[in-house]
Amino acid sequence: MLSLKKIVLVGHFGVGKSSLIRRFVKNSFSDDYLVTVGVHIVKKTVQINNDEITLIIWDIEGKEDMQKLRPSFLLGTSGFIYVFDATRESTYINLSDEINYIETHYPKINLLTVANKIDLIEKNTFIKIAENNKLKIDYFSSAKTGENVELIFNDLAKNLIK
């Protein structure tokens, strides 16, 4: 069975949304930061058991506040990946509020939270920070090393066809 799912990466600017997508789709990475203006859309098909799922991935510009997102960007979305930067407190300080907002306004949409740039910080150090801030984190990732990137998209795809 072939199915098509739209997923959107959300989170502050500079957390690595575009980089995660680039790593997943093109298996490449760049240290240069190029601001995303508007939205870029790419697709990649993944194989989950016997099913093929084409993910239409929306890479939108970073926003500090979910409420400020253009609603059309979220139209028809099946899954969210909420990305924050493990090295920048400002990108996760409001994480629980943001997640609450998503869960109340888009209750049917799958959501994963990802702490990215984990290559830049000692994992145990960050786990402590996460505990102190009561952060709900589903995955640690690094677009730079590729750590967990494939896994995140695959797991989301699995959730989408359940």
């Binding site: 098509l4 600017f13 500079g14 930061y33 203006v37 697709k43 059309s72």
Partner: protein, 508 residues
């Protein structure tokens, strides 16, 4: 007609309309912005249109997508896209408004803004991490030092008790060795505590007046036993015109000297250790206090030459046993706004140069109104200075040199004092208390109880570091005292007091 022309030129060229069938195939396109063909399935143009296909079944809906980046048949652009899902009367359509230029402009602005925010946040994070690492390290050091000190205290304490039990010579020797090692550990722990305090910014520099000459005396006393055991030369040289009193943290200055000299003595087996103290005037009230310690020892390995920074961490130098002394000195000098330089080479000896800005206490000493009050110039007086230390004698002589009417004699200990007073008349004795052979207290007692009244009536001013014993001195008949370190004015006032009192007595 002109409006048609302008619309064509400015609006149509920024806009493209594509009409599609309910199956998502293109039925009409004006190709103003990018080339597409009739019959093409739009989802083949770009993944964006997959989402559009999804929305087709839901009729009579209009959606606007802002700022969508598309690359269609080689043309890149950023478009606002209006999508209508079609009705019974109307086919679905898409209208593309070209915002590429705006977006490119926006891109540069947002890029600059985001870059600077990220840079700032990263910087803050680094600082925060640095501070918390430092805190952790210092707390850890402080804790471990305390934990080590308690059992070490017990070891050293019981060692003392053991030492008092009947022991043969061999056992006594062993105890001495253990004691030495124990004390060594203790001083290392103290250093660690000190260093963690300095690093944590808890160390305060307590400014007080100190005498450069006293400092050197003290240092000489400390190193006398080492000099005897090592057969080394130690030559402290103090520049003639150095202000005798300076304002700085006496204890910490001494610590700097001891740490540096400890190293110099430790790593020098033959030759000499020299200490040179000079000063350079900065302005009326302040000088640069400079000193250098030069040894003929084994020196530092090349790599560490001249580099102070290598000592600022908890690094030891490559020389085993050099301890934390140098790190502490570096930090202390830094805290006193001073500078330090090390010149060294393997087997070439080491020269450590330190320079610390200090206030002089001279301003007060040379205050003429105070000098005027003291009429020492009017009478001829014979004064005996008793001090075992040359440097002290020089200092007092210097303080009194403005009074040519004063005749000064010196004695090195109590025995000499008693000899001299029998042969000559004196108006005053300035008596250092700590002296070899016979100390100042004992000598004073002997003078005051002397059967010859010419001798027993000589006023004595005690010069002492131990102000707590003054009462004892007074009972022994001493007329006054100055406590170390003292200013010129202290000395003059003490002398004046005695003569004023004598005059009063004579009037009666």
């Amino acid at each position: 007609m002109i409006t048609e022309f302008l619309k064509e030129k400015y609006i149509n060229s920024k806009c493209q309309i594509i009409v599609i069938g309910h199956d998502g195939r293109i039925t009409e396109t004006d190709n103003y912005l990018f080339e597409t063909n009739k019959g093409t399935q739009i989802s083949n143009l770009h993944p964006f249109f997959e989402t559009i296909n999804h929305l087709l079944p839901d009729k009579n809906k209009e959606h606007v997508f802002h700022c969508v980046n598309l690359e269609i048949n080689g043309v890149k652009g950023n478009y606002n896209i209006v999508f209508f899902s079609g009705s019974d009367a109307l086919n679905p359509y898409l209208i593309f408004y070209d915002f590429t230029e705006n977006c490119d402009y926006l891109q540069t602005i947002v890029q600059r803004r985001n870059d600077s925010i990220i840079a700032l946040e990263t910087q803050l994070l680094k600082e925060k991490q640095h501070i918390s690492e430092k805190k952790f390290k210092n707390k850890f050091l402080a804790n471990i030092s305390h934990d080590l000190k308690t059992p070490l205290g017990a070891v050293l304490g019981f060692l003392e008790i053991l030492d008092k039990t009947p022991l043969n010579n061999e056992q006594k020797d062993l105890i001495n060795t253990i004691r030495k090692s124990g004390n060594h550990i203790k001083s290392l722990i103290d250093d660690l505590l000190d260093l963690s305090k300095i690093e944590a910014g808890e160390l305060k520099i307590n400014y007080n007046t100190f005498s450069v000459y006293d400092l050197i005396n003290h240092i000489q006393k400390i190193y006398t036993p080492i000099l005897a055991s090592k057969n080394l030369l130690f030559n402290p040289v103090i520049q003639q015109n150095i202000p005798p009193f300076l304002v700085c943290d006496k204890t910490r200055i001494l610590q700097i000297f001891i740490n540096l000299l400890d190293n110099a003595f430790k790593f020098t087996n033959e030759g000499s250790v020299s200490l040179n103290i000079t000063s350079k005037t900065i302005n009326e009230n302040s000088v640069e206090f400079n000193f250098s310690i030069t040894d003929t020892g084994i020196g530092f390995p090349d790599a560490k030459q001249n580099s102070i920074n290598s000592f600022t961490k908890f690094h030891q130098t490559d020389i085993e046993g050099s301890g934390l002394g140098l790190s502490i000195v570096t930090k202390l000098v830094e805290n006193m706004n001073g500078k330090m330089q090390i010149l060294s080479g393997v087997k070439q000896g080491t020269c450590v140069q330190v320079s610390i800005p200090m206030q002089t206490a001279n301003g007060i000493v040379e205050n003429p109104s105070i000098n005027q009050k003291i009429p020492l110039t009017e009478t001829c007086l014979q004064i005996l200075i008793a001090d075992d230390n040359e440097v002290n004698i020089t200092l007092i002589k210097k303080m009194l040199k403005e009074y040519p009417n004063l005749t000064i004699e010196t004695a090195k200990n109590g025995v000499e004092v008693l000899e001299i007073v029998k042969q000559k008349y004196f108006d005053l004795i300035l008596m250092d208390i700590e002296m070899p052979e016979m100390n100042g207290f004992e000598a004073s007692r002997k003078i005051k109880t002397h059967p010859n009244p010419t001798i027993s009536n000589i006023p004595i001013i005690a010069i002492t570091a131990n102000a707590a014993e003054i009462e004892k001195y007074t009972l022994a008949g001493i007329s006054g005292y100055v406590s170390k370190p003292f200013l010129k004015q202290d000395l003059l006032i003490a002398i004046e007091k005695i003569f004023v009192e004598n005059l009063r007595k004579m009037n009666i």
